[in-house]
C-alpha cells in the first residue's frame, strides 16, 4: 500500500501497454524534456538532508522527509517524470552505497505509482531489491529507519512481484524486443527468489525467537515499536523480518496456498496488540489476507470476527489518514473487506458478533446483494461471482512463461481457478440455506415432515442434514472442531431437535475492550514524557 495506485485491474491495461519505443534507460513517460542527470536544487537539499538524518539516526526527521517532503516534491516536480537518476545525486551523498540503494528503491516505487514501468525498469528494480536485501542480510546495517518505510519496502516488493507476474503473463501484444528481453532476464522476479528472500529475512532476523522471548518477558519489542531507543542498534533487519512474515502470507495467498500462508503468519498473535498495527498499511494487509485465507478454509466465524474488528478500526481512524498517500488504498481495502464480510455472512449467518456501526455500513452497501445470495438461485451465483472477483487478491501464475507460439494472455488463469473452486463450494452449500430457514421455524420436527416441506425424499433429507453439520463445523489448525452455525440441531432416531444459540448481551467483551483501550491511552501518555 505504498501509494495510491490500483492493483492490476483489467481497466488499467494502459499501465502495461507497450512502453514507448523511444525509451532510453530511465524515461518511462519519455518526456522529451526529462534529463535524468539534472538535479533541481530542491532535490539536492532533499537528499543531503535525508542522508544526514539517516547517518544521525534521527528517525522522526527521516519519517517526516519520507512521508512528507518526498510526496510534496513528487507532486510538484515529478508528476510525469521520474526523479533524477541515482548517478546524478550520488555525489551529494558521498556516493554512499546503501543510501543509493534506498534512493533507487524510492525511485522505482515512484515510477510504479505515477508512470508506467518498462520491462527494463522492472528488471532493474528486481536487481536493486536483491542488492538492498543482500546488504541487509549480510552486512552490518547500523541505521534505524521508520517502520512506515520498512513496511513499504516489503509491501512494494511483493506488489512489484505480483505486477511482474501479470506483466509477463500477457504475451499476446508483446513486441519481439520485449519477448527477447523476457527470455534474457528469465531470472528476474522468479518465484523461488522472491520467497527465499522473504524467508531469509525472517530467519536472519530471528524475529520468531524475539517474539517468543517477548511473550516470556525477556525482550522488549512491541513496547518500543521495534525501535531501540537506548542502544540505537539497527531496527532494519528485525523489522524487515517481521514484515516479511506478512509478506509471505500475502505471496502464499497469491499462489492459492492458504494453509501455509496462515502458518507463516502464526508467530504474530493477532488477538494481541502488536507491531503489525503500528503502520496502518500493514495492519490492514495482515487482516485482509488472514480473513481471506480463513474464508477459503471455511472458517467463517474466524474471518467474520477479524473483518469486524478491522472495519470498525478503519471507521474510527480513517479520518486521520486523509492526507496520507495510502488513503486511497485504505478505502479500497475497506470496500473489499465489506464485500468479503457480505460473502461470509451469506454462507454462515451469525447473530451478535458484529458491531452496530459495521452492520449499518454493511447494510448500506450490500443489503440487496446479501438477500440475493441467500436465495441460492441463478442470480445468487452471479452475485457471489461479482463480490469474489471484486474482493479477492490478484492471484498469479508462478511458473515461468512459455515464450513460443502460440502467444496467449494467461494472466487470468490463476484467478479463474480460485473463483471456480470457490463457486463450487458455494454450490455444495446450496440446500443449507433453505434448511436453515425451516429450522428457524421449529423446535422439533420429524425428518419425514421436513422432507415433505423441502420437497425431497427422506434419504435426501438425512443427507442434507448431515451436510449442514459437516459444512458448519470447521476444523481448526490444531484439529479441533469448531461450530460455526447460529442454528444447530441434533437428531434422535427420526426427530430433529433444533437448538438456537440465544444472542445475549456480552458485557465481558465490552469491559475487555475498554480496559485495553484505556491501557493504550495510558501508555501513550507515558511515552509523551519520554520524548
Amino acid at each position: 500500500m505504498a501509494s495510491s495506485y490500483d492493483y492490476d485491474d483489467g481497466s488499467l491495461d494502459t499501465r502495461y501497454a507497450r512502453p514507448p519505443s523511444s525509451g532510453q534507460g530511465g524515461g518511462g513517460a519519455a518526456e522529451l524534456s526529462y534529463d535524468p542527470n539534472f538535479v533541481p536544487d530542491s532535490v539536492k537539499t532533499f537528499v543531503v538532508h535525508l542522508y544526514r538524518h539517516i547517518r544521525e539516526k534521527n528517525v522522526y526527521e527521516i519519517h517526516q522527509m519520507y512521508e512528507g517532503s518526498f510526496q510534496r516534491l513528487s507532486d510538484r516536480m515529478f508528476r510525469e517524470n521520474p526523479w533524477p537518476s541515482v548517478e546524478a545525486i550520488a555525489p551529494y551523498v558521498d556516493n554512499d552505497h546503501v543510501f543509493c540503494l534506498l534512493y533507487r528503491e524510492m525511485w522505482f516505487r515512484h515510477v510504479y505509482a505515477r508512470l508506467a514501468p518498462t520491462g527494463q525498469q522492472r528488471v532493474e528494480s528486481w536487481d536493486n531489491y536483491c542488492s538492498l536485501f543482500g546488504v541487509v542480510l549480510h552486512g552490518v546495517v547500523s541505521m534505524q529507519l521508520p517502520n512506515q518505510w520498512l513496511w513499504d519496502m516489503v509491501d512494494e516488493f511483493v506488489y512489484q512481484f505480483q505486477s511482474y507476474c501479470q506483466y509477463r503473463a500477457k504475451l499476446k501484444n508483446k513486441t519481439e524486443e520485449e519477448l527477447q528481453f523476457l527470455r534474457q532476464y528469465d531470472q528476474a522476479w522468479n518465484i523461488y527468489g522472491v520467497l527465499n528472500y522473504l524467508q531469509a529475512l525472517v530467519e536472519k532476523s530471528s524475529i520468531v525467537d524475539i517474539l517468543e522471548r517477548e511473550k516470556e518477558g525477556l525482550e522488549q519489542f512491541t513496547a518500543t515499536d521495534g525501535y531501540d531507543y537506548e542502544g540505537g542498534t539497527s531496527n532494519v533487519l528485525k523489522m524487515l523480518g517481521y514484515y516479511s512474515m506478512i509478506g509471505l502470507l500475502r505471496v502464499h495467498c497469491l499462489l492459492g496456498d492458504y494453509h501455509t500462508g496462515l502458518k507463516c503468519l502464526a508467530p504474530i498473535d493477532i488477538s494481541q496488540q502488536g507491531v503489525y498495527m503500528i503502520v496502518i498499511g500493514s495492519h490492514i494487509s495482515t487482516i485482509y489476507h488472514y480473513g481471506f485465507a480463513n474464508l477459503m478454509l471455511r472458517r467463517y466465524v474466524e474471518a467474520i470476527r477479524e473483518f469486524n474488528k478491522i472495519l470498525l478500526y478503519i471507521l474510527k481512524y480513517k479520518q486521520y489518514h486523509q492526507k496520507s498517500p495510502q488513503y486511497d488504498q485504505i478505502l479500497k481495502k475497506n470496500e473489499q473487506m465489506y464485500a468479503l464480510l457480505a460473502i461470509c455472512l451469506s454462507l454462515c449467518p451469525q447473530n451478535n458478533i458484529i458491531e452496530e456501526n459495521v452492520i449499518i455500513q454493511l447494510r448500506d452497501k450490500y443489503n440487496e446483494k446479501m438477500t440475493k445470495m441467500l436465495r441460492y438461485d441463478d442470480e445468487a451465483y452471479t452475485v457471489y461471482d461479482e463480490l469474489f472477483t471484486y474482493a479477492c487478491p490478484k492471484f498469479i501464475t508462478s511458473s515461468a512463461p512459455v515464450l513460443e507460439e502460440p502467444l496467449i494472455n494467461y494472466n487470468q488463469d490463476a484467478y479463474r481457478l480460485q473463483l471456480k473452486l470457490f463457486l463450487y463450494e458455494v454450490k455444495q452449500q446450496q440446500s443449507l440455506s433453505s434448511l436453515r430457514s425451516f429450522l428457524k421455524l421449529y423446535s422439533a420436527i420429524s425428518i419425514g415432515k421436513l422432507a415433505a416441506y423441502m420437497e425431497v425424499d427422506e434419504s435426501t433429507m438425512r443427507t442434507i442434514l448431515m451436510a449442514y453439520k459437516h459444512k458448519m463445523h470447521s476444523v481448526a489448525s490444531d484439529g479441533k472442531i469448531i461450530p460455526n452455525a447460529d442454528i444447530d440441531f441434533y437428531i434422535s432416531e427420526d426427530i430433529i431437535h433444533v437448538v438456537e444459540s440465544k444472542p445475549s448481551k456480552l458485557y465481558g467483551d465490552y469491559f475487555l475492550r475498554q480496559i485495553l483501550k484505556f491501557e493504550e491511552m495510558i501508555s501513550e501518555l507515558d511515552r509523551v514524557k519520554l520524548d
Binding site: Y192, D257, L465, M466, I491
Partner: protein
C-alpha cells in the same frame, strides 16, 4: 538404501520447514508421498510444499503422485485438505480422468451423499486400492459426521453411511460398543438404534454455557494490564 524410515521422515519435515522453496527437494518430497502411502502416515505440509513446487515448475509434475496426494487428502476429512490441494493444482491437470473421479468422490463426501460415494468408489476400486487404509479412513469420517448429527441413529442409516452390512456390521457395532461407548437400543418398530456417545455437538446440554463466557485467549489480552 539402509536408512531407517523414521530418520527419512524427520529429515523431510525439517526440509519443509527450513528450506521449502527449493526445487532440489522435489524428488525427496515425491518419495515421502510414497512413504506416507505405504506406512499409512500423512503430512499436509510436505504435500502442499510438493504441490507448490509442481506449480512453480509444471514440467516436473507427476500425475501419479498428485493422485496419491489427493487420495491421502480425502482420507483426512473432515479437514478441508482436499480443497487446499485443489487450489494449487492448475486447471489443465484437473482435467485428468483420475483426478476428475477424485473430485466427484470428494463432492459426494462433502455433501454427505455416502451411498453415492460408496457406489462410485466401488466402480473405481483400482484407483483407490493404491492407498491402503482408504476405506477405514472414510468410515472414520462417516462416523464423525454421524456423531455430529445424531444422538440415536437407526441401524439402516449407519449401514448405508459406512457401507457395512449384515454380520460384518454386527461385528463392527460390537467393537464400538466395547471401545467407543456406543449403546444399542430398541427403536420404533423392531429396528435397532445405536446411541452415540454424547458430545457438545449432538447434545446441546453439554454445549459450553455461552451466556457470558469468553475464550481464555481473550482474557490473556489483559494480563499485561493486570500485572
Amino acid at each position: 538404501m539402509g536408512r531407517e524410515p523414521q530418520q527419512v521422515s524427520y529429515t523431510v519435515e525439517q526440509l519443509v520447514s527450513v528450506n521449502p522453496y527449493n526445487p532440489d527437494i522435489l524428488t525427496e518430497l515425491e518419495n515421502y508421498v510414497n512413504e506416507q502411502v505405504s506406512s499409512q502416515t500423512y503430512s499436509l505440509d510436505a504435500n502442499l510444499c510438493l504441490l507448490r513446487l509442481y506449480q512453480f515448475d509444471p514440467t516436473r509434475l507427476s500425475i501419479a503422485i498428485v493422485v496419491r496426494i489427493l487420495i491421502k487428502a480425502l482420507m483426512a476429512m473432515p479437514a478441508p485438505d482436499f480443497s487446499l490441494c485443489l487450489f494449487l493444482i492448475p486447471e489443465p491437470v484437473q482435467a485428468d480422468e483420475q483426478i476428475k473421479t477424485l473430485i466427484v468422490l470428494s463432492h459426494y463426501l462433502e455433501t454427505a451423499r455416502f451411498r453415492q460415494f460408496w457406489d462410485e468408489a466401488a466402480k473405481n476400486h483400482s484407483l483407490l486400492e493404491v492407498v491402503p487404509g482408504f476405506e477405514q479412513a472414510i468410515q472414520a469420517y462417516a462416523i464423525h459426521v454421524l456423531s455430529l448429527s445424531y444422538q440415536k441413529v437407526p441401524r439402516p442409516v449407519l449401514a448405508e453411511t459406512i457401507n457395512i452390512e449384515g454380520l460384518s456390521l454386527d461385528k463392527f457395532i460390537e467393537y464400538h460398543v466395547a471401545n467407543s461407548g456406543w449403546v444399542l437400543e430398541k427403536g420404533t418398530g423392531r429396528s435397532q438404534l445405536i446411541v452415540l456417545p454424547r458430545n457438545e455437538f449432538n447434545h446441546p446440554g453439554l454445549k459450553k454455557n455461552s451466556s457470558d463466557g469468553m475464550p481464555f485467549e481473550h482474557i490473556t489480552r489483559i494480563f499485561p494490564v493486570l500485572s
